[in-house]
Amino acid sequence: SSNEHKLNFKKSKEACLSYIQDALLQKQWKRAAEFLTCYVESLEKDYSREHVGPSEMIWRIGSEILWHHSQNSMKEFNCFMEQMKTLGVKRYLKVCLEHVFHLLCNGQIDEAYQNLSLAESWRFGEQTAIQDKEMKLIQAYRGLLDYCSWSKQKNILLEQSEDGFSDLAVEREMHGYFRKAAVNLKEIIKIPGVWDIFVKCYVDLLEFYGDHNEARQVLNEYAYNSKFPANPNAHVYLYQFLKRQGESKKSLISSLKILHDIVPSHELMIDFNTMLQKSSK
């Protein structure tokens, strides 16, 4: 019937989206922006029945365009992200997190840290509980940045001690960062997942402060807890730690067993084979 071919709002916007999609795939940022300008009025319609609503579309497409567009300045990007944060409370933390990633990619560590802190203090009724996962991630990344700060302080301290003097203030700051980082890093690696960088940093902290038992426990959990997804790196980290600790060949070999199963082509297999040959098994 003729009604199927009627051009209406919905069809018009669907067509608009497909033009945006084509433009994005061909990296035609200006053209994508042109069509996005026409798409944004979808925000004024109720799409609550749709799986992905216009506000999410606009957030994702808009950030792509602004990120790649040559005229773009971080100021515009930041301004846009702030607007996106107000668009959907259900997505608030996600948007914050992605914004932080962009800031980090752009080298703006301080701004990223500020945003993380701000996001951490966000409360919104039952949404806070619903977005618990994102909150944990935010805390984890803040922990990571705290670790970076700690690392910086540590290096300063080491340089100073080489030159023959020590600054108590630096040391205190360093310890402060350690405490902040440790708390958050410890939390995130409890959740089953892939947390390579977090684990690495946490173990580094533990080793520096001499808590080898905790480090060993963390690494064992990460490698052997069946709730965690199979992760070759977990075994690599454990092996490297044990090696640093000067463990026996026997324990070193056993730590590489699972790695051998899941990634037989791993470069550590050379060491594995060498050790096996030496132990004549």
């Binding site: 709002f9 018009s12 033009y19 069509f35 925000l43 109720d46 808009g62 773009n72």
Partner: protein
Amino acid sequence: RDFNERCAQCSEVNWGLTDGGRFYCRSCHNVTERTREVVNTDFITNSRVQTISKGLRKQEKNDGGSEWYICEGFQLVLKKQVEALEALGVCPQMKDEILCNFWRCYLQKSKQAYCKRPAGEAVKALSVCESSTDVDSDPERPSLLHLLSLSESEGELQTDCSFASSVSKVSESTSVYSGSVDGSLYLMKNQKEKLRMTMPMTLSFCYMALLWVREPITLSELLRFVVEGHIPYLNVFQHFPEKMKLCGLDLKIFCVESWPVYEEVFNKMHELAAFLDLPRFPDITESCFLHPDMLCMKYLMEANLPDELHNWTCRVVKKIGIGEVDFLTLMPGNNSTRKVKYDVLAVAVIVVVLKLLFLLDDHYECFSVISFISSQTKVYIFYSGGPYFEFKKWYEVVKHSLDVEQKKLDEDRAKYLWRCEKPLFYSVKNKSKVLKRRQMVVNLQNQFGRLSGSVQRAEKPNPSSFQLSWSEENTDGSCFHGHSLKGILQEKCGLLKAMNPDYWLCTVKLCNEKLCGHLAHYKDVEFPQSYHFVLGLFSFLLRVQPSYIHDEVCMIEHKLFNKKLCKKLKYNTVLRK
């Protein structure tokens, strides 16, 4: 408005206002010296408001608005539309005499004004709504939620979920439901018998008036002008005066979110003409623009086809009698005669002529002797007058232009901006939310508009009758108007005949239009590419579906080959699989 004196000349009480603000008698056009004190032309265009019961109308409501009825809104819409038509060059009588009278007649017939009843109905609606504390308590009266979910031709607005939930809590005044007095009443009643006014119907009114005056604007052109923005339709409510607050159910009535379709407007127009008991429309004669001979000429030019084809279209028109005055002129209420779609009819005739001369079976038109020779020599074959017409070359040239235009059209369609500055809200409760959203949209539009370098929307193209134009001055030979058909014609007994002896019917049997709504069913894969292309070309020009034109082609073919069809069931048809 309260001028109730009898006219000095004819003793009637039928006053109107001149441009100078003086009262004049509509029956005898006697102008008086009395002038109107208060100037408030925005609110009501004609002085018909006196018929709405004054007792019910409160001047000021608390939000600065005053009471208004849905039909007043539509009246404003029509006014804007006809003014736009005037700006396009339509004769001024259309507004003051034709459309005005049609509208008044409609109001009278649908009992919305000019009669004694309307006030009573409105009172009933108000009291019913006010007395019930729970909207859903009355099982017979459809709940507001049901009303909101009614989706008619233009009422496709998705309900604002927050509004739906807030409605059930509302129990106070009816003003929350709609800004107008009778908004909910309008949607509630089954007004099929009374032909409820809708936005697409405003265009039916316009078309009806245009037809009455026999203006050279076809329905497809009218609809195209609407889409191009030359005739207000989409957000015309933004021209309502401040006092006419639009909210709630009014939105469902006045806010459109789809472009009207030819078939819809056309059918409604005929319904309307019958409803108004209109007499026979002014005759459509051979000198009229809407006559198939004239329209064929226009479309032949626009399709870049040779002028010589016009002789053939005229011959077909004459043979099947579709050029007769009685066939073309509209006789409202007469269901036995087929309703004439002038533009679709004309292009269908052209398609039939092309089929007669070129067969359009993907072989004959491509491999004619002429094209064979010219493809070898890569020049046009000339005779003493000019080049021979070659279908294949024509196809290439036109297809190229058509593709460009179609691409532009598709992009424009994707870029339509449906919303306007005037905010719409279902209820006062979500007003701030709506305004905030609007602000965000504007911000985003500015931001990304700057990025794309096009902050301002491109200016509307000037309205033009021709979408494709071909100039004979072009040296690239892309204009085929002057080409000759000699290559495909032969002379026999002093008459020119097509060399092509064959013809294939689009369909052997016509469907029953009343049962399935169509005369035939068009699937492009079942027909030759050339035919599909030709349909596509005219479909683009008229902005209708190819199947719509296909139906008309079938109709013409059956008229043309009527005798042969009756005689032999298996005529010389080459049916596509």
